[in-house]
Symmetry: C2
Subunit: 222 residues, 2 copies
């Protein structure tokens, strides 16, 4: 736990639900390392655009990638972006409509993106993104050609300014409502990975690699 605490800037200071804020850098890593897609917020022509995209993390840098032709990435380095990773963990059913909620873990990162130009960092960033989706795939799949790399933009966002919010547990109801004849509790939500489905064009005799088979989870809820 020797990591520096998360920054508190006007953007990341939690105004609402302050009790749910977590100022531990390891909590940030945990939320990021448990996800596969983020929602990247950019401003284009004065209006916000929220784009789901894959991401990877190396230390205190988040990487996203896209086509060099994609406008949102091409414009992004000119201005700050917001990256949000959210895990929905449960539906919280209170005794009153007002106290319904969801259990979740959420990380929000603000930063000025940097277009990665160093070839080694481009490869490292791409590797982090692929390995986030499927650990082991970088070594299994064919590496990018020079032409493929030229068509790929990799953007780095520093994890300097971030906030983490976590809500877990049962509903918090009004004192008077606890005696109501209304069921209250949590319906857990979980993302599960299923058995790998081979590409119909896969030649016979290529088995599911161990690192891919390992992705499938049991479907049991924790």
């Amino acid at each position: 736990m020797s990591q520096p605490a998360l920054s508190s800037t006007p953007r990341t200071e939690l105004r609402r639900g302050r009790a749910r804020g977590v100022s531990d850098r390891n909590a940030l890593y945990e939320v990021l390392d448990a996800g596969m897609i983020c929602h990247l917020g950019v401003v284009v022509d004065g209006t916000p655009r929220v784009i789901p995209t894959a991401y990877g993390r190396i230390g205190d840098v988040l990487y996203v990638h896209g086509s060099t032709g994609a406008r949102s990435l091409r414009d992004a380095p000119a201005q700050d972006v917001c990256v949000t990773v959210t895990h929905l963990d449960g539906i919280v059913l209170g005794r009153s409509v007002f106290h319904h909620s969801v259990n979740y873990r959420c990380a929000m990162i603000y930063g000025t993106p940097r277009l990665v130009t160093d070839p080694d960092e481009v490869l490292a960033g791409l590797r982090a993104i692929i390995e986030r989706l499927a650990p082991g795939q970088w070594d299994a799949a064919r590496r990018p050609t020079r032409k493929e790399l030229a068509a790929t933009a990799v953007v780095a966002i520093p994890l300097d300014e971030a906030s983490v919010k976590i809500r877990q547990g049962p509903p918090v109801d009004e004192e008077d409502d606890y005696s109501l004849d209304v069921w209250a509790g949590v319906v857990p939500v979980r993302q599960v990975l299923g058995e790998p489905v081979p590409d119909p064009l896969l030649p016979p005799g290529i088995p599911v690699p161990r690192h891919v088979a390992a992705l499938a989870t049991t479907g049991d809820l924790r």
Copy 2:
């Protein structure tokens, strides 16, 4: 299928991956009605902010809610927002790093939010949000008091300007790569709901209502 087609404006015209675009209004409804949280993008002090939040839909209007004290909602009516709902359906493992992808369904909505002031519409909007999380809960839980309503801001966003992108199926690899000795295919991803967990403070003798028990899914992947 008598719905009007989705609009094509400069913001919703799909520049990248055009083949994945869907211009059917029913597809928009399906993506929205399959989700529980959206990512709401607003611009605050010139920078984007991406906030996960619950939502509901009534016809061609999307509703989100929040505290009347939350800055993102308070400021939202002054400017356009972007609402994105994403379902991650699979990890697409190609034969090359370059052709890795994810299967997903994604709706992006642009619009000028309207702060709902009509009391009936406030209730209808809240009901839509609650019922999206847990159908049947509106009639089961205590309705909001006047004080609770005063603390709740409901915002309506018209579904006039939206795009839907869907990617499903196996990887699409380079012709030369199909002969490689590399496994390729899809690892399905699904969100599952588990058995309801009663609030520890629930008095004995209050059974899980049928509409709550019905939320739990089997955990089987489709």
